[in-house]
Amino acid sequence: MKLNNNIRQLRFHKNEMSQQELADLIGVSRMTIYSIEKGKYVPSTVLALKISQVFGKPVEEIFSLTDNNSTGVKNIEK
């Protein structure tokens, strides 16, 4: 199971916001934003909600779960 996100695209559409600017807005380090974007770190619920607040979108529009089975990517809701 992998947590995907589209933070990078959302940053780009929000006046090309940098990782550092987003990090400053939600009170974390730039490396944390980088790691979340790369899928290396799964944020807490609080942090995910803060990110969704910054972009004005629901959490599920920013984050999604995928299954890495050999059959391919499956949506968790199925």
């Binding site: 730039r30 944390t32 790691s35």
Partner: protein, 289 residues
């Protein structure tokens, strides 16, 4: 700006010349201070005394290098190695005077070669740091940046640098206590003191950095010192460190039960501590690459 750079370079070169003087003074003094010479001559005493202002100038330059390095932190490993060396070299400048003074008192009584070797090693470190500092300050001059200003939004940099420093401290500490335990130049009865002294020296840069960190973040609530990923990385580091030290505990128990080696408790405590420190910081650095 050009004037400042000129003054900075002149300061660095004078400091280097002072260290070169100290090196030549030590070589000259070592050739003269033999057991056949019962007392120091005025000439030798003057040569030795002149190392005090020379080391003072080198000390002031080290202080400049440290402040400049703290203002231009990069979070890069080589940058952290440089800072640790500046701190260690600065701290051992004081030891040089103590060592020289001890040599002056002890040379008619017994062999002082270990003290001379230590003095040369420290001087080599000072000269290395001085040259590196001269080059480093050309490319990384802090200008008008105030000491705690640069890191306002650079939480990553300080966090990573502290972990680099912790790793270097751990490795230096392990090397130091093993060096002391080998009893190369020290009689067995002085090994615990040497172990603790070398461990303290290894810890000095980390203590200094933690103090710097506390001053930098002191106004923030404790819960905001680290963000959640940094806490998670440190926790993972602590878990791995606990696992890594299990074989060490087993080894210590076996050595203790079978009397394989007659090592002091201070050695084992410090060995575990420095191993844990190295393991935690290695994990954190690896997770923040």
């Amino acid at each position: 700006m050009k004037n400042k750079r000129f003054i900075r370079n002149i300061f660095g070169i004078i400091s280097l010349l002072m260290l070169a003087y100290c090196l030549f003074a030590y070589i000259f003094l070592q050739s003269r201070l033999t057991m056949e010479l019962p007392e120091l001559t005025t000439q030798l005493r003057t040569i030795a005394n002149l190392t005090v202002p020379a080391l003072l100038i080198a000390g002031l330059y080290h202080l400049f290098l440290l402040v400049n390095a703290l203002k231009t932190l990069k979070g890069k490993f080589l940058n952290s190695v440089y800072i640790v060396l500046v701190i260690l070299s600065g701290a051992t400048l004081l030891s040089d005077l103590t060592l020289l003074s001890d040599i002056g008192k002890e040379y008619p009584l017994w062999d002082v070669t270990p003290e001379w070797l230590l003095l040369y090693a420290f001087t080599a470190l000072h000269i290395l740091v001085n040259i590196w500092g001269l080059i480093y300050a050309q490319r990384n001059y802090s200008g008008n940046i105030r000491l705690f200003q640069q890191l306002k939004s650079e939480n990553d940099t300080l966090f990573l640098t502290i972990n680099h420093v912790a790793l270097l401290t751990g490795l230096t500490g392990i090397f130091g206590i093993i060096f002391a335990a080998l009893q190369l130049y020290t009689p067995a009865e002085y090994v615990p003191q040497l172990t603790i002294m070398l461990a303290g020296l290894a810890l000095f840069p980390l203590i200094l950095f933690v103090v710097y960190w506390i001053i930098k973040l002191g106004r923030k609530p404790l819960t905001e010192w680290l963000d959640e990923k940094q806490v998670a990385d440190t926790a993972l580091g602590a878990l791995i460190s606990a696992v890594v030290t299990i074989p060490l505990y087993v080894f210590i128990s076996v050595v203790d039960l079978t009397n394989l080696a007659n090592l002091q408790i201070s050695f084992w405590i410090l060995a575990v501590f420095f191993t844990q420190l190295s393991a935690i910081s290695t994990v954190v650095i690896a997770r923040n690459r």
